[in-house]
């Protein structure tokens, strides 16, 4: 095929740039465990509220400075509605839905995961700043979707 010299150079640079971007992402994934939330655990949405630990949503201490937080989403509210997290602790959130798809996000802290009924989503975060944070649903779930929010206090 007849390719102009300048274009051959351009295509090589373009492909090399994309490969470099990919290499950075692979490096971050391996070195820093910077991977998207991808927990693979199923759960029966019909029995979530009667199954431990989701029957008592809230914070559970797992170590000196580590916690698990269990959340249940339903139209149009979160459980727990208020949660207090000790400053400086690392929290792993476990979130599931009773009905439709929701989105679990704390915009101030880059906590962001889809909540799919039938599955448990997880996301981990260390809270280093004190304050009252907004936790909201960022996936359309119905008419009162924008009223589906809760608060997380770090202190």
């Amino acid at each position: 095929m007849n390719i102009h010299r300048a274009e051959t150079f351009f295509i090589r640079v373009a492909a090399a740039t994309m490969l470099a971007f990919f290499a950075i992402l692979v490096y971050l994934a391996v070195a820093d465990r910077f991977v998207p939330p991808s927990h693979q655990q199923t759960i029966d949405p019909a029995t979530v509220t009667s199954t431990a630990p989701f029957d008592h949503p809230g914070l559970v201490r797992t170590g000196p400075n580590t916690y698990d937080a269990y959340y249940v989403a339903r139209v149009f509210s979160w459980s727990p509605q208020n949660l207090t997290i000790p400053l400086g602790s690392t929290v792993t959130f476990y979130v599931t839905s009773l009905d439709v798809v929701h989105g679990f996000t704390i915009p101030d802290e880059d906590v962001n995961v889809e909540v799919v009924p039938g599955w448990v989503s997880t996301v981990k975060r260390t809270f280093r700043k004190p304050g009252k944070l907004l936790l909201l649903c960022n996936q359309y779930c119905g008419i009162d979707h924008s009223a589906m929010y809760a608060s997380v206090t770090v202190k």
């Binding site: 095929m1 390719i3 994309m18 992402l25 991808s38 880059d110 962001n112 008419i143």
Partner: protein, 550 residues
């Protein structure tokens, strides 16, 4: 039957063929007018400047906006453009238009069915219709018919290609017809995914099955949903590659590389849908990483396109004795609304492309997922380059097909600039909201005065200002369109597809072998999705009953 090989598009389409193409375009424009009006109301609602009535709430309107613009406007414009590209470059003495008309009727019937359900409140599920939100079955059936109609358009393209091959053995398909065909091969493979999803959703919506596999429907949707965006952009690329050089009176930069770019899109658009599900549970991170790689690779043919187009600009300037960046830019025909619209669309796409690479960046998605950043991104891609290119080329296409001169060239020029300015303002404001954490798809972003939400409101106001400019642009387009059709002076407007360089040797056979590329595309889909689907069917998945939550 005698046929002409006509890559330059000098062959004239018949009035009957023109009517079919126009029928596609008119449905597209109708969807555009309604959809963009709804869009303005949404920006005003989010900025707290108006309140929508309960009988036509935000989400019903948002569903209509998304479906009418992302699915109906784009699809009808592209089916019209593809049909035109094929009819114009493959001359046939007596072409049957039956298949073409059946396609249009099926597409329109499906559109009306789905639109009725949306407008009457039976399907406030947004354009992604994520289960287990449960819409009226007629919404899913309508959407399915729209897709089946596009398959009939594809059939019409294939029948014309077959006739061309029979009459011109060994000759490459004319470039515009080839681009249309490659786009529709990709589209057909992509829509198989959503067709399977519909086979799950329709019986469930009727109540014949008790539950739905939510994650499976999401994977099927995005297997279709990402190539969908390439379907849009390839429509614009057909115009950039084959019409823009003709406006500049230069040949296509490289016929062979244009074909190569299109087959690369055919192959690489499909195996990358998982990048829309980076933060979904139930899909292993390794499959997400694999598709991250392929997503970054699909940037390469877009950069090839950028090279070819800027080389075309340079060549046209050189013909006028102009060299150097500033002189090249100044030498371009900015007073032509068709050219100006396409060129401004290309500028918007540079930013769309940058944002796209950010979105493709694997775990970084947590920063932008489901925020207004994403909304800004697709407005500066499908709403920018794609829509603006379609509107600009309409100033050429509608006069050429109706035999009426464009009513006002200067209003057209104002219109494309208003679109560019409005979309720039709106998408910058949307991207900014997203980086500040504002969620997409929320009617009210006040969140009872939460501290983080307080930063979003000013940018929602800027978004609304952009929306006002954009709707002004649409009104200018509508006035010009109606005045051209009903009051335009009768006269010929020549429409020419750019010809290949006369000294360019024909592209190697393997480049244009769509059958072979289809096999490659399917194999790549198996590689990219095999693991994720295997995992999915290995896990014990709970079916979910579904709800109407609006």
């Amino acid at each position: 039957m005698k046929m002409a090989i006509d890559t330059s598009g000098n062959h004239t389409t018949t009035p009957a063929e023109n009517r079919l193409v126009l029928s596609h375009l008119y449905v597209a424009f109708g969807a555009l007018f309604i959809g963009t009006t709804f869009g303005l109301f949404q920006t005003l609602t989010r900025a707290n400047l108006m309140q929508l009535p309960p009988w036509f709430d935000y989400y019903r309107m948002l569903t209509a906006h998304g479906v009418l613009l992302a699915l109906v406007f784009t699809t009808f414009f592209i089916t019209g453009l593809a049909t035109f590209s094929v009819y114009k470059t493959i001359a046939r003495e007596r072409r049957s238009l039956n298949v073409g008309w059946i396609a249009w009727i099926v597409m329109l019937a499906g559109t009306l069915m789905a639109a009725f359900e949306i407008l009457t409140g039976g399907a406030s599920v947004l354009y992604t219709f994520y289960a287990p939100l449960k819409a009226s079955p007629w919404f899913y059936i309508g959407a399915t018919l729209l897709i089946v109609g596009t398959w009939i358009v594809f059939l019409d393209i294939l029948l014309n290609l077959k006739a061309f091959r029979k009459a011109n053995p060994g000759t490459a398909i004319p470039l515009p017809a080839f681009m249309a065909a490659a786009t529709f091969v990709m589209w057909f493979l992509a829509t198989l995914g959503v067709a399977v999803e519909m086979l799950l959703l329709i019986p469930w919506a009727f109540g014949w099955t008790s539950g739905i596999d939510v994650l499976l429907t999401r994977m099927l949707f995005w297997y279709f949903g990402h190539p969908l965006v390439y379907f849009w952009i390839l429509g614009a690329y057909i115009i950039w590659y084959a019409v823009v050089p003709a406006l500049l009176k230069v040949p296509v930069f490289s016929d062979a590389l244009t074909r190569l770019a299109f087959v690369l899109f055919l192959v690489l658009s499909l195996p990358i849908g998982l990048h829309h599900e980076f933060v979904d549970p139930g899909i292993a991170a390794r499959w997400k990483l694999l598709q991250t790689f392929l997503t970054l690779m699909v940037v390469v043919p877009s950069l090839m396109t950028a090279f070819a187009i800027f080389a075309t600009f340079e060549e046209s300037a050189a013909a006028k004795g102009q060299r150097g960046f500033v002189n090249i830019v100044r030498s371009l025909p900015w007073s032509d609304p068709v050219f100006a619209g396409c060129a401004l669309a290309m500028i918007l796409f540079i930013f769309g492309g940058f944002g796209g690479i950010v979105n493709a960046s694997y775990a970084m998605d947590i920063l932008v997922h489901n925020t207004m950043w994403i909304v800004g991104h697709f407005h500066v891609t499908v709403g920018g380059p794609v829509a603006l290119t379609f509107l600009a080329v309409s100033y050429l296409l509608v006069p050429a097909l109706t035999g009426r001169k464009l009513w006002s060239r200067s209003l057209a020029l104002v219109q494309v600039w208003l679109w560019f300015v409005g979309m720039s303002i709106m998408s910058i404001a949307m991207h900014t909201q997203g980086l500040l954490g504002a969620p997409r798809r929320s009617a009210d972003i006040a969140y009872a005065g939460a501290a983080v939400a307080a930063q979003w409101h000013p940018w929602a106001l800027v978004t609304a200002a952009g929306g006002v400019v954009l709707l002004t642009s649409v009104v200018a387009f509508a006035i010009n369109l109606f005045a051209t059709i009903f009051a335009g002076e009768e006269g010929e407007t020549p429409f020419v597809f750019a010809a290949a360089r006369p000294d360019e040797p024909p592209a190697p056979k393997w480049v244009g072998n769509l059958g072979m590329w289809t096999v490659v595309a399917v194999l790549l889909v198996v590689v990219a999705y095999g693991g994720a689907f295997y995992d999915h069917f290995r896990d014990h998945v709970y079916l979910v009953p579904g709800l109407r939550t609006w």
